[in-house]
Amino acid sequence: MSKKKLLQSDLHNKTSDQPTLSNSSLLQTESQYHALFETLTQGVVFRDSTGKITAVNKAAEEILGVSESQLLGQLSVGLDRPCLKEDGTVLETEDHPSMVALRTRTEVRNMILRVPNFKKNEYRWITANAIPLFDANSKKITQVYVSFNDITEFKHSKELLDMRLRLQQAISALSQKALSKRPLTELFDNATEQLARILNVEYTNIVQMLPDKDEVIFRAGYGWEQNVQIDRTTAPMGNKSLAGYTLSSKRPVILKNLLKETRFNKPKLLLQHHITSGMCVILHKNNGPYGALCIFSRQRRNFTTDDISYLQSIANILSFAIQQNETEHELIQNEHKFRHIAQALPQIIWIADAKGKIEFFNEQWYDYTKMSPDDASAESWSKAVHPQDRHRVWHLWNETIRTGQPYEVEYQLRNGETGKYFWFLSRAVPIKDKTGTILQWFGTSTNIHEQKQAQQALEKNTDLTDAILQSLPSHVIVLDNQGTILAVNDALKTFAFENTTLYPSEVSIGNNYLKVLSQTRTKYGDAINKIKYGIRAVLTREVNNYSLEYSYQRGKDESWFLLQVAPLKHAESGVVVSHTDITERKKLEKQKDEFMSIASHELKTPLTSIKAYGQVLLTVFKRKGDASSVQLLTKMDSQLNKLTDLISDFLDVSRIEAGRLHIEEEWFNLKALIEEVRESMQLTSDVHKLVFDCQVECNVLANKDRLGQVVINFLSNAIKYSPTADKIEITCKRVNEEVVVSVQDHGIGIAPEKHAKIFERFYRVTDGNRPSMPGLGLGLYISSEIIKLFEGKIWVQGEAGKGSIFSFSLPKKRVQYILHE
């Protein structure tokens, strides 16, 4: 019977009680039904009233793996194979859904069963419905309509999920046991039992490597015969057992069939137990393998990836537990070792638990405090602490335990022998586990009595320094390297109290002195700027120290101060600034200056008349023609000139010191001045020829007499200190933008180390062998002061025995060069 025909008749039957349709529309409906039938994803089978298969659609052919022709006329879709119930048992033919529908004349819904697929040689899970179709008139069953869905994939997934869920539950149960630090043996027993149950195997075991011997030993096992004993039965390492092979190959091993195994020798124990399949994974301790975890089955098994990963998970949990156990063991061992070491240390060593209770003191504690181990336990240690310190120490210790912060405290501890207290420094640090939880406190107490005493002595010393600072009459301010005020002394405070203009109240510790100075609004701005400059220069180590005399008007009187800035000893650690009142000294200097003026005036008065009388006599002898007397009187006159110069020098020095050297400046021709001086100085020496080499002609801004005085000084020195030479050279040249005047002699010269000194007051050049030359040693000092006034430089070159070159320069702004065309 063709499918089409069957379908038609079926449709006729099915729709016989429906309103009659026209022929053409009926045909159309038929073809639609046919298309639907063939394209349904459900399998559909039609059976006749006896249960024989009369039609099968494409989807049914797919699910069953047979063609329609093989099935037609058959009673079972399984042909010669049985269909299975959900629980795996055989489904008898009379229990097939179609048969049930025929027998009961009712629909069968959602029966789950397994049917063979011949093509794939496997069973498929299906859910089947069977509907009996009745003849409208006779009410007899004409056909049975069976439809079914392939739910194999779904069924597999569900099984997998259930399996995984069971595995997960088993893993998590074991994990919790491992975390709760149960004894390893208990955990091992649990694991082996659970594995056997979950993976449905007969035997499981855990073996540990024996490092000294070449074997592994049973630590746990499940399902084994009596002859297998925990902690006694061993298995060989290497390729003589599954565990041995696994450990030596360092990766999990799956045993599919022991009889066909070639990787390792067949161990007796496995053969005795008729083992066919198995798996073995490695257990790890902290540094290396611990042993192996194995499962064995008498059946031939294809272990799934889920089985493998489950076994590995269990192995991981056990490894964790093994490591945990080992660490604890080591900790205990270490603590034993530690206590042993602690006894040998000179310090007091102690250990407290996480709650702060002392667990251990080394011998040194008992030696020092003379407490007995019973006394010192727990909290009684604080009895040895000085009553003054006890509360503070106890409070801090409790705070430390509460916060977990490191502990450091100094206190006095009673020496049990003498009853005296000594200073100790106690420190403690927490010891934490991997998770950061504090397990213990490790503490030391060190005798710091000597350091403490030294510190107290230092504090006394600081007091002394402070006392010195405070007793100084100068106004002293100590600054750090940024200019922040570190200390000021009483003298300054008192002075500041009396006079707020120079030292405003902001001159106090913590403020920045340079800023305070910048904000000071006084009419002595220039002095303030110089003070700031000086402090900065020393702070930046531009200069080693700085001093400045400055004045300011204090009421009606002029006050004078000496500023001194000196670095603190250690580099970059700041400066000491002192302002010393030098008003009195300045007054005295002024008096001295006045006295010098009067004295020089008084000295010059008789000198004037002596000189005049001499000149009277000179005129008289000249007129008489008395040549020898004229010569003597001329000499006397030149000596009087020298005396006059000496008195003038004195007066100059006095004025320089008082800062009152009177200078008026004008532009004049330098060449003309030098030439004039040269001519007059040439008259004073018959021995030397004074040569002037003028390389540049210019006007300079200076004081003609004072600059002339410098050239005279250079030339008179040159004459004086080169008694045997015959030539002195004066040069005037341009160096860069400056004009430089030099006087070179060929005399005794000056050793380079003395070059800086010769411009000091009263310094005189000697060569060590000769008696020193006459003179007060003021000339070069005055010269250098004069050149300073004109912002120039003065220097000397040469060596002892090779003559000297004295030079001065005037800066660019004081020089106008005369260009000749």
């Binding site: 008065t605 000189k611 005049a612 009388y613 005129t619 007066l651």
Partner: protein, 124 residues
């Protein structure tokens, strides 16, 4: 040289030795010399109308600079040139303010003084 006899020079100084020696020197160089120790300078100037006055800046109680200003304030004698004499080298900067024509530092050279006398007494 001869016409110098008609040139009267008034020398004022509180130091008599200076007065005497200067007088001698100037007379040897043919000047007519009148001397004063300070107090009578103005009256002597009015009486003798000297061609030039050599005036010490610091004559005990008398300040030569003040005296100089007084002379310049008196029209009858204001035109007489004054050379101020001082032991201080600062005279260089201060003489002009007194109205003096020139200055000379003590101790002076007679040649230097003679040059200045010639310059201010209308010779040449």
């Amino acid at each position: 040289m001869n016409n110098r006899k008609s040139i009267t020079v008034l020398v004022a100084d509180d130091d008599t030795a200076i007065l005497e020696s200067t007088k001698l020197l100037l007379e040897m160089n043919d000047y007519t010399v009148i001397t004063s120790t300070g107090s009578d300078v103005i009256s002597l100037m009015k009486k003798h109308s000297p061609a030039i006055v050599i005036l010490d800046m610091w004559m005990g109680q008398i300040d030569g600079r003040d005296l100089c200003k007084n002379i310049k304030a008196d029209t009858t004698i204001a035109t007489i040139p004054i050379i101020i004499v001082s032991a201080s080298n600062e005279i260089e900067f201060t003489y002009a303010a007194t109205g003096a024509s020139d200055y000379i530092e003590k101790p002076f050279d007679i040649d230097e003084l003679l040059i200045k006398l010639e310059k201010y007494s209308g010779q040449n």
